[in-house]
């Protein structure tokens, strides 16, 4: 393999990793705050692509309006899932919330199958994402470049929210001790709802970029990215937004390089993330940037 080819694959891996990272941010924030694996997160991402799809195909909106609208709707969906399904279980045992989460995930998948049909639908890829950029011998789809840029921008925004705003301060406080925070006059439910909303909006960005990349969508498309994004979140250190994106990058790059070096393993690509998760748990359970969360 030449160096050019290596660089080429590296860029592709970064593009894929950005998508994992965007989805992982939502996982990591919710887990950091509630210690809840939000199984429905991947399916929330799937719903966002359908929102955008219908915005473009039925209401004939310009793609960016449809995307913005889809982001808002997905944020609302995330908040309503939290308020409807998880909030009544805040004081119940943790296993109850997890079971509800898997129920919500299964509900979204199958409701989407019934309502939208199982047939994959072609997703619109706007003009500006179709160009091909050339850097010397390396060429990449402008979509990949934009994906990486958007991810980095969102990371900065999320950093600003988490570390520089009052809401972010409340979020960090909740992640330290969920039971003391309400005593300090902070509305716990608003903080949690905000976290779900923010995570879902970012997942919507990831989902729409994902749909533009492969350009098709189907109701079960959220499962595998959801699983892999969780692995990315654990790899980067759960509870840490930088870690989530870093974990996404690492996962994406290794996955692409693995297939590039050993094409015969391409069938096992989806199994690789799982192996990585096991390895992380054995050798560094707190992840790369993670601090030890209290159980």
């Amino acid at each position: 393999m030449t160096f050019q080819l290596f660089l080429q694959q590296l860029i592709n891996g970064l593009g894929l990793g950005s998508l994992y990272g965007l989805i992982a941010i939502g996982y990591t924030m919710v887990y950091g705050i509630l210690r809840l694996i939000n199984f429905a997160h991947g399916d929330v991402m799937m719903m966002s692509t359908y929102f955008a799809f219908f915005g473009v195909s039925i209401f004939a909106l310009p793609w960016w309006v449809a995307a913005l609208l889809a982001m808002i709707l997905t944020g609302l969906l995330g908040i309503s899932i939290d308020q409807g399904a998880y909030r009544p279980l805040r004081r119940a045992s943790r296993i109850s919330a997890l079971i509800t989460a898997i129920g919500v995930s299964f509900f979204l998948e199958n409701a989407a199958l019934v309502v939208f049909g199982s047939r994959p639908r072609a997703f619109y890829r706007p003009e500006m994402f179709r160009a091909i950029w050339h850097f010397g011998d390396i060429s990449l789809l402008s979509l990949t470049g934009y994906t990486i840029l958007i991810t980095l921008c969102l990371l900065v925004i999320v950093y600003f929210i988490v570390y520089k705003t009052r809401m972010g301060m409340a979020m960090r406080a909740v992640s330290k001790d969920m039971h003391t925070v309400p005593l300090m006059g902070i509305d716990l439910n608003r903080v949690v709802a905000f976290t779900f909303g923010l995570g879902s909006v970012i997942a919507a960005v990831g989902g729409i970029l994902w749909a533009m990349k492969y350009p098709q969508i189907e109701p079960l498309m959220g499962i595998i990215p959801g699983l892999k994004a969780f692995v990315a979140a654990v790899l980067g250190g759960i509870g840490n937004v930088f870690g989530a994106v870093l974990g996404g990058f690492i996962l994406g790059i290794t996955e692409i390089l693995l297939v590039a070096f050993w094409p015969e393993l391409s069938g096992y690509r989806d199994a690789f993330a799982f192996l990585l998760l096991i390895l992380v748990l054995i050798f560094r359970p707190t992840g790369i940037m993670g601090e030890d969360l209290p159980e």
Partner: protein
């Protein structure tokens, strides 16, 4: 002092008498079920026998799934993976070399596997052992650090099993799956396995191990400080559940005789989750009741996917896939409004049954 001695002796006599009575009653109940099965075997039609078989397999699965989820309180999503493991490993073992030759048409079967052919029972046990082995392999890293990753690790493992079954052409025959597996499974096998599972798991739950498992569920930190090694106990419960799930998978493979990677989807795990939640997380009795009710009920629910006539003048078109949506709603609603399920954490006991009969109530231990 003397009173205390007498009291203790009286209590002992009472409890041995009761224990003997309970044992006889349990044996009688098992024999009754066997009698019913005998009649079912002779007179029921194929569809009913199929359902009875599925009921037994679901009881086995639900009870062992409840051991890890309800009794130990470790949320896991593994049954479909272990059922697939047990099904594939036992099916590959019982197939004769000739059958394998007929199945593996794209790529020949791996040479180390092609000549193996063993009887049904060893194959079933091997299926269980395979599942238990992988459970240990997964449980080791997970339980060592953070138990709540178990759910996502097992969910991922289910995907990996599917990926491997699809790609490992020379061993699993890829997406084509295995056809023409000998139909060894009958009512005796499935119900026999269900009884053995129930016996072993009830004995386990009532032993000091079982009490330790429940202690871990209630408060892991407190359990650890009482000297319970939670890592070892969780691993024990997980691999035990996997062992029985693998054997149930082997039964399933030899019941439906055709297996493919598509068969062992997450839907199976989801069904079991509904069963143990509705039956009551932590109640083995509840799992058995819910497994029976669910298997019949989900057959009835097939109606929503087919067109229904209402009085002949109005037809509701069937909605394919609606059953799954209903299942999901049932699970969420049960979690939100009926977390106890049918049995809560209570178990059936003969003493409780006698307590229901007026006048039949024995003197409570003085």
């Amino acid at each position: 002092m003397k009173d205390a001695m007498q009291y203790r002796q009286a209590r002992q006599r009472w409890s041995t008498k009761n224990r003997r009575r309970n044992r006889i009653l349990t044996l009688a109940a098992v024999l009754c079920t066997c009698g019913l099965l005998f009649f079912a075997n002779r007179f029921a039609d194929e569809y009913q026998i199929r359902i009875l078989n599925m009921v037994a397999i679901y009881i086995t699965l639900a009870v062992s799934y409840n051991l890890i989820n309800g009794i130990t309180g470790q949320f896991s999503l593994e049954p479909n993976a272990f059922v697939a493991l047990g099904a594939y490993s036992s099916a590959l073992l019982t197939m004769t070399p000739m059958e394998k030759g007929m199945n593996f048409i794209i790529d020949p079967c791996a040479p180390w596997l092609a000549q193996i052919c063993v009887p049904f029972l060893p194959a079933v046990i091997f299926g269980g052992l395979m599942a238990a082995f992988f459970a240990l392999l997964m449980g080791f890293p997970v339980f060592r650090v953070r138990g709540d990753y178990l759910a996502i690790v097992t969910l991922g493992f289910g995907e990996v099993i599917r990926v491997v079954a699809n790609n490992l052409q020379t061993v699993t025959n890829g997406p084509l799956g295995l056809k023409g597996i000998a139909p060894y499974t009958d009512l005796w096998w499935t119900w026999g396995l269900a009884f053995v599972t129930l016996f072993v798991i009830i004995r386990l739950v009532n032993s000091s191990y079982g009490r330790a498992l429940k202690a871990i569920r209630e408060n892991e930190l407190a359990a650890e400080s009482m000297g319970i090694n939670s890592f070892r106990h969780k691993l024990l419960a997980f691999s035990m559940a996997a062992f029985f799930e693998g054997m149930a998978g082997a039964m399933l493979a030899h019941l439906i005789t055709t297996i493919s990677p598509m068969l062992f989807t997450f839907f199976l795990t989801f069904n079991l989750l509904i069963i143990i939640v509705l039956g009551g997380l932590g109640s083995l009795t509840g799992s058995v009741i819910a497994a029976i009710a669910f298997t019949w009920g989900s057959e009835l629910l097939r109606a929503v996917e087919e067109p229904t006539d209402i009085f002949g003048w109005f037809t509701i078109p069937g909605i394919p896939g609606m059953r799954m949506v209903i299942f999901a709603v049932i699970l969420i609603a049960a979690m939100l409004f009926w977390r106890e399920g049918i049995m809560g954490r209570k178990e059936f006991s003969w003493g409780w049954l006698f307590g229901l009969v007026p006048g039949g109530k024995q003197k409570k231990s003085v």
